[in-house]
């Protein structure tokens, strides 16, 4: 007996073959499952079926204290845990009305941008792997490893960083950050260059990506797209600029905007964003150096956090798009309700429209380019 009736959905015609892609499939990132109905290789209908990685994060949050929930947020988008931590911390800080010291904000910016680079590297690398180009993945993943080295050496964790505390950050940047950073920066650029050389103007790559799963700006907004995928559709929206947080208004950077919203545009937007992130880190580090070395890293927050009753929503631009936390408090030490607004949740629900009429191979490319992370999708 099959537990999930969706797999038994009888489609009107036996002309089509129903193929279950996932939940265990080489190119499903995590445990996704897509029930596709195909006519030959063309997709007639694709129905995502999620929940295979559902761990009840929101329910869990209701019984933990505010600090205890930070490690849980690591497990949302495990490719870039830091923006998750910071987004949650920002939500609680907003609820408490705490102002975070500038130095802590700069450290957060530096770390978040590093995480953004790491996330984009994985996304582009995996996109390449899913389209059969293995080598760029390794060029990028080696540099991501270097970024993880920095994370590890900052607070001992590589993937699940549990970065920061409510009200600031727990540690200052180590002294030789500049050295490491100057060493890392050219390598990241070089890896990006190599990737560009191998992919961007490669005719096969262009054939495989241009015009695939194109989405209009209107549809994308209607569907709740955010982040690189929305910008690839031609909407210039970036929370870092539109609703600045963490001193992002002090940095100068470009927001790349695509045109067609296809896989190629998403790829290019991510490539350019990595470059912009490098610039942001440079500027942030410059500002950081101007700070006195004994500037506070934490705002004054009580040991046991009991925010006043109320509810706030706070969002930031995670590598994938708008990552928001809605926190409702009833005045006790446990959050009353935590709602996570994961970016790829909104994008994945548009999958049936994105891939309709495309081929199975394009479905894979589309999922990779949306950067679906099962951890934050299923929570």
């Amino acid at each position: 007996m099959n537990q999930n009736p969706t797999s038994q959905t009888s489609y009107e015609s036996d002309n089509y073959v129903t193929i279950n892609i996932g939940p265990s499939h080489p190119s499903m990132h995590g445990t996704l499952r897509i029930i596709t109905m195909t006519d030959g290789e063309t997709i007639v209908k694709a129905e995502p079926d999620i929940g295979y990685l559902h761990r009840g994060v929101e329910k869990l949050g209701e019984s933990l204290t505010y600090h205890q929930f930070i490690p849980i947020t690591d497990r949302l988008n495990y490719c870039s845990a830091i923006p998750n931590n910071v987004s949650y911390e920002m939500a609680v800080e907003k609820l408490m009305g705490v102002e975070v010291p500038e130095k802590a904000q700069l450290i957060r910016v530096i770390m978040m941008e590093l995480a953004r680079i790491a996330d984009h590297q994985v996304c582009i690398g995996i996109l390449g792997v899913d389209l059969g180009a293995f080598t760029p993945f390794f060029y990028l993943i080696i540099q991501r490893e270097e970024i993880y080295e920095i994370f590890e050496w900052f607070n001992g964790a590589r993937l699940t960083n549990t970065f920061g505390r409510i009200g600031g950050v727990d540690a200052d940047l180590p002294d030789d950050f500049e050295e490491r950073w100057e060493e890392l920066k050219p390598n990241v650029r070089k890896a990006n260059d190599e990737t560009e050389k191998l992919l961007t103007h490669n005719r096969i790559w262009m054939d495989r990506t241009i015009g695939i799963s194109a989405f209009s700006a209107e549809d994308a907004l209607n569907r709740g797209f955010t982040g690189p995928c929305l910008r690839a559709c031609g909407v210039k929206r970036d929370l870092r600029i539109d609703e600045p947080y963490c001193m992002y208004d002090k940095f100068k950077f470009e927001v790349p905007v695509g045109k067609n919203g296809d896989v190629f545009d998403r790829y290019i937007v991510r490539m350019i964003e990595m470059e912009e992130s490098l610039k942001i880190i440079d500027q942030a580090y410059k500002l950081y150096k101007e700070m006195p070395s004994d500037a506070p890293l934490m705002a004054r927050v009580p040991k046991v956090i009991k925010p006043p009753a109320g509810e706030v929503y706070s969002a930031l631009e995670s590598p994938n798009g708008e990552l928001g936390f809605f926190v409702k408090s009833n005045g006790s030490a446990n959050p009353y309700r935590i709602r996570i607004r994961p970016p790829c949740y909104m994008m994945f629900q548009a999958l049936p429209e994105l891939v309709k009429g495309e081929m199975v191979a394009d479905l894979i490319a589309c999922i990779s380019s949306l950067n679906i992370i099962a951890g934050e999708l299923d929570r």
Binding site: Q3, G51, L60, E311, E322, G324, F326, N334, M346
Partner: protein, 190 residues
């Protein structure tokens, strides 16, 4: 003119807004459940408001909040059987148990607004926003999954995260953390 005044100006006269609250700069407007589609149309199409982006939809269970303050919170961790009987009866009619919260965003002015709908336990049906914003597709399914609130007009209202014959709605406050022994409902393929 600040957002609160504008919202009141456009929604107030028609009685479309029940209450407005503000918390740390986040404005939320509670609207009557039956008018939710009208409100959303107004909010989206009025040029002065222009909330053209639906950021998120989610549910909140106010079971514990509605209870008198002095009740110890530990109650929730014990079985839900005892909990369900302890409906607060003290202060007249208690407010409806569930809330559905819509997070709206105006892209032009970067303003955010929370729109709330209260859903009582005896009438768990809300109009779906799917005709306005397709973004509400999965969030509404998830609310159905987690709270059991149904959405009228939703094209595909199935459970999203839990499997289809899961017997409970886990994000309700009376659902214990350890589960209710759903293992017995699992039937595996041989």
């Amino acid at each position: 003119m600040d957002l609160k005044k504008r919202v009141e100006q456009y929604l107030g006269p028609e009685g479309l807004v029940v209450a407005m609250t503000e918390c740390q700069g986040d404005l939320s407007a509670e609207v009557p459940k039956k008018n939710i589609l009208d409100v959303m149309h107004l909010l989206r199409d009025t040029p002065d408001l222009g909330f053209n982006f639906l950021s998120d939809v989610f549910g909140v269970d106010n079971l514990d909040l509605n209870k008198p303050k002095k009740k110890p919170k530990k109650k929730t961790e014990e079985g839900e059987g005892a909990e369900a009987e302890e409906e607060p009866k003290e202060k007249g009619p208690s407010p409806p148990r569930y809330e559905v919260v819509y997070l709206l965003l105006c892209l032009e002015r970067n303003e955010r607004l929370q729109v709330k709908v209260r859903v009582a336990e005896d009438d768990m049906e809300v109009d779906s926003l799917y005709p306005i914003w397709k973004a509400s597709d999965w969030p509404e399914r998830e609310i159905f999954d987690m709270f059991g609130i149904r959405f009228k007009g939703h094209p595909n209202l199935k459970r999203l995260l839990m499997w289809d014959d899961f017997p409970a709605h886990p994000l309700r406050k009376d659902y214990p953390l350890e589960g209710q022994g759903e293992e017995r409902h699992l039937v595996y393929d041989d």
